[in-house]
Protein backbone atom coordinates (compact mmCIF):
# COMPACT_ATOMS: atom_id res chain seq x y z
CA UNK A 1 0.00 0.00 0.00
CA UNK A 2 1.29 3.47 -0.86
CA UNK A 3 2.22 5.74 2.05
CA UNK A 4 -0.51 8.20 1.08
CA UNK A 5 -3.17 5.48 0.97
CA UNK A 6 -1.89 4.08 4.22
CA UNK A 7 -2.41 7.42 5.98
CA UNK A 8 -5.99 7.67 4.73
CA UNK A 9 -6.63 4.06 5.67
CA UNK A 10 -5.35 4.55 9.22
CA UNK A 11 -7.35 7.76 9.59
CA UNK A 12 -10.49 5.96 8.44
CA UNK A 13 -9.86 3.12 10.89
CA UNK A 14 -9.39 5.56 13.77
CA UNK A 15 -12.57 7.44 12.87
CA UNK A 16 -14.53 4.21 12.89
CA UNK A 17 -13.28 2.56 16.09
CA UNK A 18 -16.46 3.16 18.03
CA UNK A 19 -18.76 2.25 15.16
CA UNK A 20 -16.96 -1.01 14.57
CA UNK A 21 -16.94 -2.00 18.21
CA UNK A 22 -20.60 -1.11 18.80
CA UNK A 23 -21.66 -3.00 15.68
CA UNK A 24 -19.67 -6.10 16.63
CA UNK A 25 -20.87 -6.16 20.22
CA UNK A 26 -24.49 -5.67 19.14
CA UNK A 27 -24.28 -8.82 17.03
CA UNK A 28 -21.97 -11.02 19.10
CA UNK A 29 -22.82 -9.92 22.65
CA UNK A 30 -19.40 -11.00 23.76
CA UNK A 31 -16.35 -8.82 24.11
CA UNK A 32 -13.80 -11.48 23.15
CA UNK A 33 -15.73 -12.48 20.04
CA UNK A 34 -16.22 -8.81 19.12
CA UNK A 35 -12.47 -8.29 19.49
CA UNK A 36 -11.76 -11.30 17.24
CA UNK A 37 -14.25 -10.06 14.64
CA UNK A 38 -12.66 -6.61 14.65
CA UNK A 39 -9.18 -8.07 14.35
CA UNK A 40 -10.15 -10.22 11.37
CA UNK A 41 -12.01 -7.30 9.81
CA UNK A 42 -9.00 -4.99 10.08
CA UNK A 43 -6.69 -7.47 8.35
CA UNK A 44 -9.27 -8.30 5.72
CA UNK A 45 -9.91 -4.60 5.06
CA UNK A 46 -6.18 -3.94 4.76
CA UNK A 47 -5.74 -6.81 2.31
CA UNK A 48 -8.70 -5.77 0.19
CA UNK A 49 -8.41 -1.99 0.44
CA UNK A 50 -7.13 -1.67 -3.11
CA UNK A 51 -10.38 -3.31 -4.28
CA UNK A 52 -12.45 -0.47 -2.84
CA UNK A 53 -12.91 1.87 -5.76
CA UNK A 54 -15.12 4.46 -4.09
CA UNK A 55 -13.09 5.40 -1.03
CA UNK A 56 -15.87 7.62 0.34
CA UNK A 57 -17.82 4.43 1.10
CA UNK A 58 -15.10 3.17 3.42
CA UNK A 59 -17.36 3.07 6.49
CA UNK A 60 -20.17 1.21 4.75
CA UNK A 61 -17.66 -1.18 3.23
CA UNK A 62 -15.79 -2.01 6.43
CA UNK A 63 -18.98 -2.37 8.49
CA UNK A 64 -20.23 -4.81 5.87
CA UNK A 65 -17.02 -6.83 6.18
CA UNK A 66 -17.40 -6.74 9.95
CA UNK A 67 -21.00 -7.99 9.82
CA UNK A 68 -19.86 -10.92 7.66
CA UNK A 69 -17.02 -11.70 10.08
CA UNK A 70 -19.45 -11.59 13.01
CA UNK A 71 -21.76 -14.12 11.36
CA UNK A 72 -18.74 -16.16 10.43
CA UNK A 73 -17.79 -16.33 14.12
CA UNK A 74 -21.36 -17.19 15.11
CA UNK A 75 -21.37 -20.02 12.58
CA UNK A 76 -17.95 -21.24 13.64
CA UNK A 77 -18.69 -21.25 17.32
CA UNK A 78 -22.21 -22.56 16.80
CA UNK A 79 -23.16 -20.01 19.37
CA UNK A 80 -26.51 -18.47 19.81
CA UNK A 81 -25.94 -14.78 19.54
CA UNK A 82 -28.93 -13.90 21.61
CA UNK A 83 -28.34 -12.82 25.13
CA UNK A 84 -28.16 -15.79 27.47
CA UNK A 85 -29.59 -16.25 30.88
CA UNK A 86 -26.45 -15.35 32.78
CA UNK A 87 -26.23 -12.01 31.01
CA UNK A 88 -29.91 -11.37 31.55
CA UNK A 89 -29.35 -11.88 35.25
CA UNK A 90 -26.49 -9.40 35.16
CA UNK A 91 -28.78 -6.84 33.58
CA UNK A 92 -30.32 -6.15 36.95
CA UNK A 93 -26.96 -5.16 38.34
CA UNK A 94 -26.18 -2.99 35.36
CA UNK A 95 -29.50 -1.23 35.68
CA UNK A 96 -28.81 -0.44 39.31
CA UNK A 97 -25.49 1.10 38.41
CA UNK A 98 -26.94 2.82 35.36
CA UNK A 99 -24.53 5.23 33.84
CA UNK A 100 -25.52 7.56 31.00
CA UNK A 101 -22.20 6.72 29.30
CA UNK A 102 -23.29 3.13 28.73
CA UNK A 103 -26.74 3.98 27.46
CA UNK A 104 -26.37 2.07 24.17
CA UNK A 105 -25.49 -1.25 25.80
CA UNK A 106 -28.29 -0.69 28.25
CA UNK A 107 -30.81 -0.07 25.47
CA UNK A 108 -29.59 -3.12 23.56
CA UNK A 109 -30.17 -5.31 26.57
CA UNK A 110 -33.69 -4.01 26.99
CA UNK A 111 -35.05 -4.19 23.44
CA UNK A 112 -35.87 -7.31 21.39
CA UNK A 113 -32.67 -8.98 20.27
CA UNK A 114 -33.53 -8.96 16.58
CA UNK A 115 -33.56 -5.16 16.72
CA UNK A 116 -30.02 -4.72 18.06
CA UNK A 117 -28.14 -4.49 14.76
CA UNK A 118 -30.68 -2.11 13.26
CA UNK A 119 -30.52 0.23 16.26
CA UNK A 120 -26.71 0.34 16.23
CA UNK A 121 -26.51 0.81 12.48
CA UNK A 122 -29.23 3.47 12.30
CA UNK A 123 -28.97 5.46 15.51
CA UNK A 124 -25.33 4.93 16.38
CA UNK A 125 -23.63 4.60 13.00
CA UNK A 126 -25.93 6.93 11.05
CA UNK A 127 -26.49 4.55 8.17
CA UNK A 128 -29.59 5.10 6.03
CA UNK A 129 -32.40 2.58 5.71
CA UNK A 130 -31.18 1.75 2.20
CA UNK A 131 -27.60 1.17 3.38
CA UNK A 132 -28.77 -1.06 6.23
CA UNK A 133 -30.98 -3.00 3.86
CA UNK A 134 -27.97 -3.67 1.63
CA UNK A 135 -25.63 -4.47 4.51
CA UNK A 136 -27.91 -7.00 6.16
CA UNK A 137 -29.40 -8.29 2.91
CA UNK A 138 -32.92 -7.68 4.07
CA UNK A 139 -35.69 -5.71 2.34
CA UNK A 140 -35.99 -2.01 3.06
CA UNK A 141 -39.53 -2.59 4.36
CA UNK A 142 -38.20 -4.99 6.98
CA UNK A 143 -35.63 -2.42 8.12
CA UNK A 144 -38.39 0.17 8.42
CA UNK A 145 -40.76 -2.07 10.33
CA UNK A 146 -37.95 -3.13 12.71
CA UNK A 147 -37.01 0.51 13.20
CA UNK A 148 -40.64 1.31 14.00
CA UNK A 149 -40.65 -1.47 16.62
CA UNK A 150 -37.31 -0.34 18.02
CA UNK A 151 -38.50 3.26 18.22
CA UNK A 152 -41.54 2.24 20.25
CA UNK A 153 -39.48 0.15 22.65
CA UNK A 154 -36.73 2.75 23.12
CA UNK A 155 -39.31 5.50 23.71
CA UNK A 156 -40.77 3.45 26.54
CA UNK A 157 -37.30 2.75 27.96
CA UNK A 158 -36.34 6.43 27.92
CA UNK A 159 -39.65 7.41 29.52
CA UNK A 160 -39.15 4.85 32.29
CA UNK A 161 -35.61 6.08 32.86
CA UNK A 162 -36.70 9.70 32.93
CA UNK A 163 -39.41 8.74 35.40
CA UNK A 164 -36.81 7.04 37.62
CA UNK A 165 -34.55 10.07 37.54
CA UNK A 166 -37.39 12.49 38.24
CA UNK A 167 -39.04 10.25 40.82
Amino acid sequence: MKEEDKKVFIENINNNRLKLYKTAISILKNEDDANDAIQETLYSAYKNYYNLREKQYFTTWIVRILINKCYDIINKNKKIAYIDDSITQNTVGKEDNYDVESSLEWVLEKIDKDLNEIVVLYYYNDFSVTEISEMLNIPKGTVKSRLARAREQIKTIIKEKEGEFNG
Binding site: M1, K6, F9, I10, I13, N14, R17, L18, Y21, K22, E31, A34, N35, D36, I38, Q39, L42, Y43, Y46, K47, N48, N51, L52, R53, W61, R64, I65, N68, Y71, D72, N75, V100, E101, S102, S103, L104, E105, V107, V119, Y123, Y124, T130, S133, E134, N137, I138, P139, K140, G141, T142, K144, S145, A148, R149, R151, E152, I154, K155, I158
Partner: protein
Protein backbone atom coordinates in the same frame (compact mmCIF):
# COMPACT_ATOMS: atom_id res chain seq x y z
CA UNK B 1 -34.83 12.06 11.10
CA UNK B 2 -37.64 13.58 13.20
CA UNK B 3 -37.40 15.02 16.72
CA UNK B 4 -38.16 11.69 18.34
CA UNK B 5 -35.41 9.99 16.34
CA UNK B 6 -32.99 12.75 17.28
CA UNK B 7 -33.82 12.24 20.93
CA UNK B 8 -33.21 8.49 20.65
CA UNK B 9 -30.00 9.09 18.73
CA UNK B 10 -28.73 11.52 21.35
CA UNK B 11 -29.56 8.97 24.05
CA UNK B 12 -27.86 5.95 22.48
CA UNK B 13 -24.89 7.77 20.99
CA UNK B 14 -23.81 9.21 24.31
CA UNK B 15 -22.17 5.82 24.80
CA UNK B 16 -18.49 6.28 23.88
CA UNK B 17 -17.03 3.31 25.69
CA UNK B 18 -14.57 0.97 24.02
CA UNK B 19 -12.96 -1.71 26.16
CA UNK B 20 -9.22 -1.34 26.65
CA UNK B 21 -8.61 -4.71 25.02
CA UNK B 22 -10.39 -3.67 21.81
CA UNK B 23 -8.55 -0.35 21.74
CA UNK B 24 -5.30 -2.27 22.04
CA UNK B 25 -6.30 -4.39 19.04
CA UNK B 26 -6.78 -1.22 17.00
CA UNK B 27 -3.52 0.29 18.26
CA UNK B 28 -1.52 -2.86 17.59
CA UNK B 29 -2.97 -3.18 14.09
CA UNK B 30 -2.23 0.46 13.24
CA UNK B 31 1.29 0.10 14.55
CA UNK B 32 1.84 -2.91 12.30
CA UNK B 33 0.49 -1.01 9.31
CA UNK B 34 2.71 1.97 10.04
CA UNK B 35 5.77 -0.20 10.43
CA UNK B 36 4.95 -2.21 7.32
CA UNK B 37 4.79 -5.37 9.37
CA UNK B 38 1.78 -6.73 7.53
CA UNK B 39 2.42 -8.56 4.33
CA UNK B 40 -0.64 -8.43 2.12
CA UNK B 41 -0.63 -12.19 1.68
CA UNK B 42 0.31 -13.03 5.21
CA UNK B 43 -1.55 -11.09 7.83
CA UNK B 44 -0.54 -13.24 10.75
CA UNK B 45 1.63 -11.64 13.39
CA UNK B 46 3.40 -14.35 15.31
CA UNK B 47 4.36 -11.97 18.12
CA UNK B 48 0.71 -11.69 18.99
CA UNK B 49 -0.41 -14.61 21.11
CA UNK B 50 -3.97 -14.71 19.82
CA UNK B 51 -2.83 -14.61 16.22
CA UNK B 52 -0.29 -17.32 16.85
CA UNK B 53 -2.98 -19.47 18.40
CA UNK B 54 -5.19 -18.85 15.38
CA UNK B 55 -2.38 -19.89 13.05
CA UNK B 56 -1.66 -22.96 15.16
CA UNK B 57 -5.34 -23.92 15.04
CA UNK B 58 -5.35 -23.47 11.26
CA UNK B 59 -2.26 -25.66 10.85
CA UNK B 60 -3.84 -28.27 13.09
CA UNK B 61 -7.07 -28.14 11.07
CA UNK B 62 -5.18 -28.50 7.77
CA UNK B 63 -3.12 -31.41 9.15
CA UNK B 64 -6.27 -33.10 10.41
CA UNK B 65 -7.95 -32.56 7.02
CA UNK B 66 -4.99 -34.16 5.23
CA UNK B 67 -5.15 -37.13 7.56
CA UNK B 68 -8.89 -37.52 6.98
CA UNK B 69 -8.41 -37.19 3.21
CA UNK B 70 -5.58 -39.75 3.23
CA UNK B 71 -7.55 -42.28 5.28
CA UNK B 72 -10.81 -41.57 3.43
CA UNK B 73 -9.27 -41.83 -0.03
CA UNK B 74 -7.61 -45.13 0.85
CA UNK B 75 -10.90 -46.51 2.09
CA UNK B 76 -12.56 -45.29 -1.12
CA UNK B 77 -9.77 -46.79 -3.26
CA UNK B 78 -10.18 -50.15 -1.50
CA UNK B 79 -13.94 -50.04 -2.01
CA UNK B 80 -13.26 -49.55 -5.74
CA UNK B 81 -11.06 -52.68 -5.82
CA UNK B 82 -7.64 -51.00 -5.67
CA UNK B 83 -4.81 -51.81 -3.29
CA UNK B 84 -4.51 -48.20 -2.20
CA UNK B 85 -5.10 -44.63 -3.41
CA UNK B 86 -1.93 -44.55 -5.57
CA UNK B 87 -3.22 -47.37 -7.75
CA UNK B 88 -6.54 -45.59 -8.14
CA UNK B 89 -4.81 -42.33 -9.16
CA UNK B 90 -2.59 -44.23 -11.58
CA UNK B 91 -5.68 -45.77 -13.14
CA UNK B 92 -7.40 -42.39 -13.44
CA UNK B 93 -4.34 -40.85 -15.15
CA UNK B 94 -4.09 -43.80 -17.50
CA UNK B 95 -7.76 -43.48 -18.47
CA UNK B 96 -7.49 -39.74 -18.93
CA UNK B 97 -4.60 -40.15 -21.32
CA UNK B 98 -6.73 -42.52 -23.39
CA UNK B 99 -9.59 -40.05 -23.73
CA UNK B 100 -7.48 -37.01 -24.55
CA UNK B 101 -8.19 -37.14 -28.24
CA UNK B 102 -11.77 -38.22 -27.94
CA UNK B 103 -14.82 -36.03 -28.14
CA UNK B 104 -16.05 -36.00 -24.60
CA UNK B 105 -19.65 -36.52 -25.52
CA UNK B 106 -22.17 -36.80 -28.29
CA UNK B 107 -25.03 -36.12 -25.91
CA UNK B 108 -24.19 -32.57 -24.87
CA UNK B 109 -27.07 -30.54 -23.59
CA UNK B 110 -26.96 -26.82 -24.16
CA UNK B 111 -28.92 -25.42 -21.30
CA UNK B 112 -29.05 -21.66 -21.31
CA UNK B 113 -27.04 -18.56 -21.96
CA UNK B 114 -29.24 -16.34 -19.86
CA UNK B 115 -27.58 -14.84 -16.81
CA UNK B 116 -28.97 -15.47 -13.36
CA UNK B 117 -28.26 -12.89 -10.68
CA UNK B 118 -26.81 -14.74 -7.70
CA UNK B 119 -26.10 -11.64 -5.60
CA UNK B 120 -25.86 -7.97 -6.50
CA UNK B 121 -22.25 -8.60 -7.44
CA UNK B 122 -22.38 -12.05 -8.99
CA UNK B 123 -24.06 -13.34 -12.16
CA UNK B 124 -23.98 -16.87 -13.41
CA UNK B 125 -24.85 -18.69 -16.62
CA UNK B 126 -25.43 -22.43 -16.76
CA UNK B 127 -24.18 -23.05 -20.23
CA UNK B 128 -23.83 -26.70 -20.99
CA UNK B 129 -23.82 -30.25 -19.71
CA UNK B 130 -21.39 -32.60 -21.43
CA UNK B 131 -22.09 -36.27 -20.88
CA UNK B 132 -19.99 -39.37 -21.33
CA UNK B 133 -21.02 -42.72 -19.87
CA UNK B 134 -21.66 -42.14 -16.19
CA UNK B 135 -19.78 -38.87 -15.87
CA UNK B 136 -20.87 -35.42 -16.86
CA UNK B 137 -19.37 -31.98 -16.87
CA UNK B 138 -21.43 -28.95 -16.01
CA UNK B 139 -20.08 -25.70 -17.47
CA UNK B 140 -20.84 -22.49 -15.60
CA UNK B 141 -19.84 -19.01 -16.63
CA UNK B 142 -19.43 -16.73 -13.61
CA UNK B 143 -19.22 -12.94 -13.70
CA UNK B 144 -18.17 -11.20 -10.50
CA UNK B 145 -17.56 -7.66 -9.42
CA UNK B 146 -14.21 -7.05 -7.75
CA UNK B 147 -15.53 -5.81 -4.41
CA UNK B 148 -17.73 -8.81 -3.87
CA UNK B 149 -17.31 -10.37 -0.45
CA UNK B 150 -19.02 -13.68 -1.21
CA UNK B 151 -16.25 -14.99 -3.40
CA UNK B 152 -14.83 -17.63 -3.81
CA UNK B 153 -18.03 -19.55 -4.46
CA UNK B 154 -18.57 -23.22 -3.76
CA UNK B 155 -21.04 -25.58 -5.37
CA UNK B 156 -23.04 -28.72 -4.72
CA UNK B 157 -24.97 -30.68 -7.32
CA UNK B 158 -27.66 -33.27 -6.67
CA UNK B 159 -29.59 -35.52 -9.07
CA UNK B 160 -33.37 -36.01 -9.05
CA UNK B 161 -32.99 -38.68 -6.37
CA UNK B 162 -31.22 -36.04 -4.24
CA UNK B 163 -27.92 -37.94 -4.36
CA UNK B 164 -24.83 -35.77 -4.30
CA UNK B 165 -23.04 -35.66 -7.64
CA UNK B 166 -20.62 -32.89 -6.86
CA UNK B 167 -19.40 -30.91 -3.88
CA UNK B 168 -16.65 -28.33 -3.68
CA UNK B 169 -15.16 -26.82 -0.57
CA UNK B 170 -12.58 -24.09 -0.21
CA UNK B 171 -12.51 -23.18 -3.88
CA UNK B 172 -9.76 -20.72 -4.72
CA UNK B 173 -10.60 -17.14 -5.60
CA UNK B 174 -10.39 -16.47 -9.33
CA UNK B 175 -8.27 -13.57 -10.41
CA UNK B 176 -10.44 -12.79 -13.40
CA UNK B 177 -13.85 -11.16 -13.10
CA UNK B 178 -15.32 -13.52 -15.68
CA UNK B 179 -14.39 -17.17 -15.59
CA UNK B 180 -15.67 -20.66 -16.35
CA UNK B 181 -16.25 -23.28 -13.68
CA UNK B 182 -16.32 -26.89 -14.78
CA UNK B 183 -18.02 -29.21 -12.32
CA UNK B 184 -17.25 -32.89 -12.84
CA UNK B 185 -20.41 -34.72 -11.84
CA UNK B 186 -20.23 -38.29 -10.57
CA UNK B 187 -22.74 -41.08 -11.10
CA UNK B 188 -24.58 -39.52 -14.01
CA UNK B 189 -27.35 -41.72 -15.44
CA UNK B 190 -29.47 -41.28 -18.54
CA UNK B 191 -32.52 -41.41 -16.30
CA UNK B 192 -31.35 -38.16 -14.72
CA UNK B 193 -33.83 -35.52 -15.82
CA UNK B 194 -33.21 -32.81 -13.28
CA UNK B 195 -30.19 -31.43 -11.46
CA UNK B 196 -30.16 -29.23 -8.42
CA UNK B 197 -27.24 -26.81 -8.27
CA UNK B 198 -26.59 -25.10 -4.94
CA UNK B 199 -24.30 -22.09 -4.81
CA UNK B 200 -22.61 -21.14 -1.53
CA UNK B 201 -20.55 -18.13 -0.55
CA UNK B 202 -17.16 -18.38 1.16
CA UNK B 203 -18.83 -18.54 4.56
CA UNK B 204 -20.86 -21.57 3.54
CA UNK B 205 -24.11 -19.61 3.30
CA UNK B 206 -26.43 -20.90 0.59
CA UNK B 207 -26.89 -18.06 -1.89
CA UNK B 208 -29.11 -19.77 -4.39
CA UNK B 209 -30.55 -23.10 -5.32
CA UNK B 210 -31.18 -23.71 -9.01
CA UNK B 211 -33.19 -26.52 -10.56
CA UNK B 212 -31.99 -27.47 -14.03
CA UNK B 213 -34.51 -29.38 -16.11
CA UNK B 214 -32.46 -31.38 -18.61
CA UNK B 215 -35.47 -32.42 -20.70
CA UNK B 216 -37.08 -29.02 -21.00
CA UNK B 217 -33.70 -27.26 -20.86
CA UNK B 218 -35.04 -24.72 -18.42
CA UNK B 219 -33.66 -23.28 -15.23
CA UNK B 220 -35.57 -22.37 -12.11
CA UNK B 221 -33.64 -20.25 -9.67
CA UNK B 222 -34.76 -19.81 -6.15
CA UNK B 223 -33.33 -17.68 -3.39
CA UNK B 224 -32.98 -19.10 0.08
CA UNK B 225 -33.29 -17.51 3.52
CA UNK B 226 -35.55 -14.86 2.11
CA UNK B 227 -32.54 -13.09 0.73
CA UNK B 228 -33.30 -11.41 -2.53
CA UNK B 229 -30.22 -10.49 -4.43
CA UNK B 230 -31.52 -11.16 -7.89
CA UNK B 231 -32.26 -7.60 -8.79
CA UNK B 232 -31.98 -4.22 -7.17
CA UNK B 233 -33.98 -4.47 -4.00
CA UNK B 234 -34.77 -0.78 -4.05
CA UNK B 235 -36.04 -0.81 -7.62
CA UNK B 236 -38.01 -3.99 -7.05
CA UNK B 237 -39.70 -2.50 -3.99
CA UNK B 238 -40.63 0.62 -5.94
CA UNK B 239 -42.06 -1.42 -8.80
CA UNK B 240 -44.13 -3.68 -6.54
CA UNK B 241 -45.36 -0.70 -4.55
CA UNK B 242 -46.51 1.07 -7.72
CA UNK B 243 -48.22 -2.01 -9.13
CA UNK B 244 -49.93 -2.70 -5.79
CA UNK B 245 -51.21 0.87 -5.57
CA UNK B 246 -52.72 0.51 -9.03
CA UNK B 247 -54.97 -2.27 -7.68
CA UNK B 248 -56.87 0.28 -5.62
CA UNK B 249 -59.06 3.18 -6.68
CA UNK B 250 -58.12 6.77 -5.90
CA UNK B 251 -60.76 6.85 -3.18
CA UNK B 252 -59.42 3.68 -1.60
CA UNK B 253 -55.89 5.08 -1.64
CA UNK B 254 -56.91 8.49 -0.28
CA UNK B 255 -54.53 9.49 2.55
CA UNK B 256 -53.00 6.03 2.46
CA UNK B 257 -49.73 4.60 1.27
CA UNK B 258 -48.58 1.12 0.38
CA UNK B 259 -45.58 -0.11 2.38
CA UNK B 260 -43.91 -3.28 1.20
CA UNK B 261 -42.92 -5.04 4.41
CA UNK B 262 -41.18 -8.08 3.07
CA UNK B 263 -40.53 -9.94 -0.16
CA UNK B 264 -40.49 -13.44 1.20
CA UNK B 265 -40.21 -15.58 -1.87
CA UNK B 266 -38.86 -15.08 -5.36
CA UNK B 267 -38.60 -17.55 -8.22
CA UNK B 268 -37.10 -17.16 -11.63
CA UNK B 269 -38.48 -19.51 -14.23
CA UNK B 270 -38.63 -19.36 -18.02
CA UNK B 271 -37.74 -15.69 -18.17
CA UNK B 272 -40.30 -14.68 -15.57
CA UNK B 273 -39.95 -13.60 -11.96
CA UNK B 274 -42.66 -14.73 -9.56
CA UNK B 275 -42.55 -12.74 -6.36
CA UNK B 276 -44.59 -13.21 -3.19
CA UNK B 277 -44.67 -10.29 -0.81
CA UNK B 278 -46.48 -8.81 2.17
CA UNK B 279 -47.54 -5.23 2.51
CA UNK B 280 -49.71 -2.88 4.49
CA UNK B 281 -51.62 0.30 3.71
CA UNK B 282 -51.55 2.56 6.74
CA UNK B 283 -53.29 5.92 6.63
CA UNK B 284 -51.16 9.05 6.98
CA UNK B 285 -52.52 9.48 10.49
CA UNK B 286 -51.58 5.94 11.51
CA UNK B 287 -48.18 6.43 9.98
CA UNK B 288 -47.52 9.69 11.80
CA UNK B 289 -48.69 8.32 15.12
CA UNK B 290 -46.55 5.21 14.74
CA UNK B 291 -49.58 2.94 14.73
CA UNK B 292 -48.42 1.19 11.59
CA UNK B 293 -48.09 -2.08 13.47
CA UNK B 294 -51.83 -2.20 14.08
CA UNK B 295 -52.89 -2.04 10.42
CA UNK B 296 -53.92 -5.07 8.40
CA UNK B 297 -51.18 -6.92 6.57
CA UNK B 298 -51.84 -8.37 3.12
CA UNK B 299 -50.07 -10.97 1.04
CA UNK B 300 -49.91 -11.02 -2.73
CA UNK B 301 -48.12 -12.46 -5.77
CA UNK B 302 -46.84 -10.64 -8.81
CA UNK B 303 -45.27 -11.99 -11.99
CA UNK B 304 -43.03 -9.84 -14.15
CA UNK B 305 -40.18 -9.86 -16.62
CA UNK B 306 -37.09 -7.71 -16.56
CA UNK B 307 -34.87 -6.34 -19.29
CA UNK B 308 -32.19 -5.25 -16.80
CA UNK B 309 -33.52 -1.69 -16.76
CA UNK B 310 -37.26 -1.97 -16.24
CA UNK B 311 -39.69 -4.44 -14.79
CA UNK B 312 -42.65 -5.35 -16.96
CA UNK B 313 -45.71 -6.66 -15.19
CA UNK B 314 -47.14 -9.91 -16.51
CA UNK B 315 -49.76 -10.64 -13.85
CA UNK B 316 -50.69 -9.50 -10.37
CA UNK B 317 -53.06 -11.36 -8.03
CA UNK B 318 -55.71 -9.94 -5.73
CA UNK B 319 -54.25 -9.28 -2.28
CA UNK B 320 -55.37 -11.46 0.63
CA UNK B 321 -55.26 -10.71 4.32
CA UNK B 322 -52.08 -12.18 5.78
CA UNK B 323 -52.75 -14.35 8.81
Amino acid sequence: MDEEDKKIKAFVSSDKKIPEKVNKTFDSFIEQVEKNQILENDVIDENNGTQFLLRFRKILAVAASFLIIAVGSNVYAKSQGYENIFFLIKNIIYNEEKTDDEIFSDKDIVISYKSIQITDEIELQINELQIKDNTAKLYLLVKEQKENLDSPLNYKVYNNENLEMYSSKNNKKHEENIYTEVLNLKNYKDSCTKLKLEIYNNNGVLLKSIIIDLLEKTIEARTENQVINKISQIELNKFIKNETEKLYSKDEMKNKKVIIIDIYDIFYSNGKYIVKYIFMMPSDEEFEKDKVQETTIYTNTIEFTSNNEDFIKVKIDTPEVFE
